[in-house]
Symmetry: C2
Subunit: 164 residues, 2 copies
């Protein structure tokens, strides 16, 4: 089930592909849909699994996921997040307000937050340097919010990936 906002954005992506003479294939549609439906950060491998779950009958290959995500990133539809171990994680943008990340050093869990004061501070700092800011990434590392609150890390030591 693809609800309104996702459907609209899907059209935008489709238009973007067509504009560049790229084809809108079954695989691409599935991958993009899945990326937009996922409210988590995902690796290429996870996105593949999620896509296959949604469409077990279709054939989708990891290489295709990589290729599609690359186009999406260039188009500004998803953003990559480099992490310390393993490869990169992605998240859709889909008109989201920019947000920063809070990463638990214990379990790898990633939370998001938005702080207007910080946003203005970045804007100002970049301007002061005469630097043309295109995008930015702030990550705060420490102990999980839930860990601090409940005394328990909801994501067990071995469960850094969570896509349910």
């Amino acid at each position: 089930m693809v609800h309104g906002a996702v459907r609209a954005e899907l059209e935008t992506v489709k238009a973007h592909f067509k504009k560049d003479g790229l084809r809108w294939t079954q695989q691409r549609e599935l991958i993009v849909e899945t990326a937009f439906l996922t409210h988590e950060h995902f690796s290429a491998e996870q996105l593949l699994e999620l896509t296959r779950l949604r469409a077990p009958e279709a054939t989708v290959h990891l290489a295709t996921v990589y290729r599609t995500v690359q186009v999406l990133e260039e188009g500004g539809f998803v953003e990559g997040l480099e992490v310390e171990k393993g490869g990169r994680l992605f998240e859709h943008v889909l008109g989201h307000e920019h947000h920063d990340h809070v990463i638990c050093l214990e379990c790898g869990h990633i939370s998001e937050f938005h702080d207007e004061v910080l946003e203005q501070g970045k804007e100002f700092a970049a301007k002061k340097l005469g630097f043309e800011m295109r995008r930015h990434s702030l990550r705060i590392y420490g102990s999980c919010i839930a860990l601090a609150r409940d005394g328990v890390c909801p994501n067990a030591p071995a469960a850094a990936n969570k896509n349910t």
Copy 2:
């Protein structure tokens, strides 16, 4: 030539190693010295090359660099910086004031800056979330400062690595 500040820090690192029952070998000393003498971000491979330049007679292997950098990172003597392509870059900390990074999307050049307003903003934002901040990383991507100023990217397209 190892000047004062580096020498002092070297002793600190050495003490840290010994405290943990780790040995202070010729390789480790060379690698750590080199890391502290370098005022640039370096990859493991670059650190190896720099070390070999400083001590052509010694034998140092890439695996040893990785192992040493790992210990240094755990001890808080260097910090890793995940980058979009290829592996991670490192930089020594050596009592430096914390700084943020400005990365040119054209040439990959990394500049640094420090902004007290931003620092306080991060502190405040983390506190507001009840998150225990251990460290943080802010990166602003855009066009090189020098590019904006001079109209020329000082680091030619193919020269993302610069360690002189």
